[in-house]
Symmetry: C2
Subunit: 427 residues, 2 copies
């Protein structure tokens, strides 16, 4: 006998989890498509050299990689961004530009499993490539709002900043050569707090005064008034720049479409990754901030540069579906609780099989999600337990030439004389 | 510069292919759910020992397997059936029984790529576990019909047979100890023809007369009249059996629900795999038989026996999505041709950005799939080419305070004074 176990950090998804996950994916896909975004897919396995690129560092150790039967060094994708960059380099000539794509798929990392973090996880990415302007930045920001709105989440806050602006500030105070280390340190503010960030900044810069200036930059504003915060950091830089004007323009689009209250300018957001060059953002659920950002991203001016000379600026974001589902469950969202498998289940006696089967066939053709309990010889208790496990709201049975419809929650029964009436009652 | 190539036997899916693929998946999911089937998911990676089981033979050589960073021997799944057996062994106590699940996901095999066959492919599996009767066999057969019907395919023929009946026949002629080899040989009839099958049968059985009897069994009937074929093989066996009566019952359900014309009894269908024990089937598109079976499966009396003592009989089928999509494309199905990314695209002049963005926002909130061309400084030609590449049917622009809606196929334009009227025209 083989032990039927799964690997550490991996999970089965039972219907109670998979049904909500599918519902969320479908809602997201429908929103992405309402914005004219199109789906693509890429292979799960790629050449290791393609996925690691310049590579190095933590990611290498964490990826699943091996030599295939043909002696090729291959690896499983660890995100959807790197394969997308490779995809763009290979196909940009065939693609409509600007290219707006979404991709909902699994990725794998061998990191140590923690609560809500697994070695196999689902990413929902959406990006616009081939254009660098305020309108495309806004397109992604408004799609983020529309996504959470479609999921029934209004208590959401998008923390927005601009890396180019931050770099302009570092230039103003004469410390731009250390910007990568500084950005990575500032990115830890939420985790380690202001004092610890200041200590690290002093280590990096060797300059207490400049470290304090960085601290005042990243804590500018009150986290409420977008424009006041922007004014504050512009005054720290000493002038309006192209980047500050872009941020003002984006904010005016937010206001005009009545969604500005969901966005704050948070100068401490930098995103650790090297490739961001403009606007950056993270997303917090105001009822459950502790779970961390559920949607992050930003603008990169040349994502595919490892693979092609073609310059392809882009802007995009990524939703971590597993974390989002964990949050929705914690928040008792109706979406996470909806695990209904069918509108009704037909319960029948062994000698009613023909009638039961024809009834199921007709209801299904009418678009009613119809289950039929296939072990009619079982006791009533087993039959009702089955319906309960699957959250099926109605049971249909046969009685004196009529249909008997039982509401399994209220236990009320009603006699119904036609199938079309049954369909009506179940809808 | 890194060469942006993909591995041999792997493919990117561009929107022109991915949009139809998603549409097909959604239609299938919707049909599966209308029958009360629920989705599950399992990890892409499993312990090699779990996936290979008793294993041996061709499959071992074809799978992607390796040692992970923790020294575990792991493998990527090569189908959805083996992980499902492992899943059942692990979770059967928590699951509603009978358990009806569907699973649409990728699997991987390192076989040599051919037309329509890749190393990464998508399977759509649906099974009922925990019940062994004619009603559950019919449930799968009717779901197969409903699936193809939902995809707009009426020229489909389900070839049905019964392995238990075949084995009863082999017993009658006293040759049942060689049944596995015989079943595998008969399975090749379509590929290698009657004469070659007869030669192989003579080799296996060492008996020309018995080989001829097997040939007459597997060629019984005219491929049209289900019941006549069943009569013919029953007379070769010499009596009605439990299996023949089950097949008669299944056929009566097909007739009663008016779908019998899509099914033929084809005694040559055996399915190569060891685990089938009752009904078996393959599916052919009558307009494109050459592509082979697009949906196959059958009944197994104990799928999970490698992992648990619990006896779990089941019946199910699997659709190969890549092959089906290739067939739909070849047959010029509307489903394969529908690559529309949005209902309309907004084209605007650089100084109309605010109006364009608000218009897009409003239309999207009304549920209209709205794209907006984000490079307004480009020439009209580039803008129309963009719409054409994405098969967008309408372009909206602004003119004298009105909306101008252009049908991009007929090139007709109409002036419209309200957005709700635009939405109406696009629906």
């Amino acid at each position: 006998m083989i032990d039927p176990i799964v690997l550490k950090g991996f999970r089965d998804s039972l219907p109670g989890e998979e049904i909500p996950k599918k519902n969320i994916e479908r809602k997201l896909e429908s929103v992405f498509e309402s914005f004219g975004f199109v789906p693509i897919d890429t292979p799960v396995l790629e050449y290791e050299s393609v996925l690691l690129g310049k590579g190095g560092g933590e990611t290498d150790k964490q990826i699943f990689h091996f030599e295939d039967n043909g002696g090729r060094k291959v690896a499983m994708r660890f995100d959807l961004t790197v394969p997308f960059a490779r995809f763009l380099a290979l196909h940009h000539a065939e693609l409509p530009l600007p290219f707006k794509r979404y991709h909902i798929a699994k990725a794998w990392r061998g990191e140590n499993p923690q609560k809500g973090r697994y070695r196999e996880f689902i990413q929902c990415d959406f990006d616009i490539v081939g254009v660098d302007n305020a309108e495309s930045d806004f397109e992604i920001l408004s799609l983020m709002y529309a996504s959470f709105h479609a999921l029934g989440i209004e208590n959401v806050c998008f923390h927005v900043a601009n890396r180019a602006l931050f770099n302009e500030f570092l230039e103003t105070i004469g410390i731009s050569e250390k910007s990568i280390d500084i950005l990575r340190t500032v990115d830890k503010l939420r985790k380690i707090g202001k004092d610890e960030v200041r200590n690290l900044l002093v280590e990096i810069t060797g300059d207490e005064k400049k470290s304090d200036m960085i601290i005042s930059y990243i804590t500018s504003g009150d986290g409420k008034d977008f424009e006041a915060t922007l004014d504050a950091i512009v005054s720290l830089i000493g002038k309006e720049t192209e980047s500050s004007e872009r941020m003002r323009r984006i904010f005016s689009y937010l206001k005009e479409n009545g969604i500005e209250k969901f966005y704050v300018y948070d100068p401490s957001i930098t995103r650790g990754l090297d490739y961001y060059t403009g606007i950056v953002y993270e997303t917090f659920l105001t009822d459950y901030e502790a779970i961390g950002s559920v949607c992050s991203g930003g603008r990169y001016n040349n994502l595919a540069s490892l693979y092609t000379k073609e310059v392809l600026p882009g802007v995009g974001a990524s939703i971590g579906l597993d974390r989002l589902l964990a949050a929705l469950t914690e928040l008792k969202s109706p979406l996470a609780k909806d695990t209904k498998s069918a509108d009704l289940v037909i319960l029948y006696k062994p000698d009613e099989a023909e009638k039961a089967i024809s009834t199921a066939f007709s209801l299904r053709m009418e678009g009613i999600k119809t289950d039929i309990y296939l072990l009619p010889q079982k006791k009533a208790k087993a039959q009702y337990e089955y319906a309960e496990k699957l959250s099926i709201p109605f049971a249909l049975s046969f009685k004196d030439g009529l249909y008997e419809l039982k509401n399994l929650k209220t236990r009320e029964t009603s006699e119904v004389d036609s199938l079309s009436r049954v369909a009506e009652l179940c809808r």
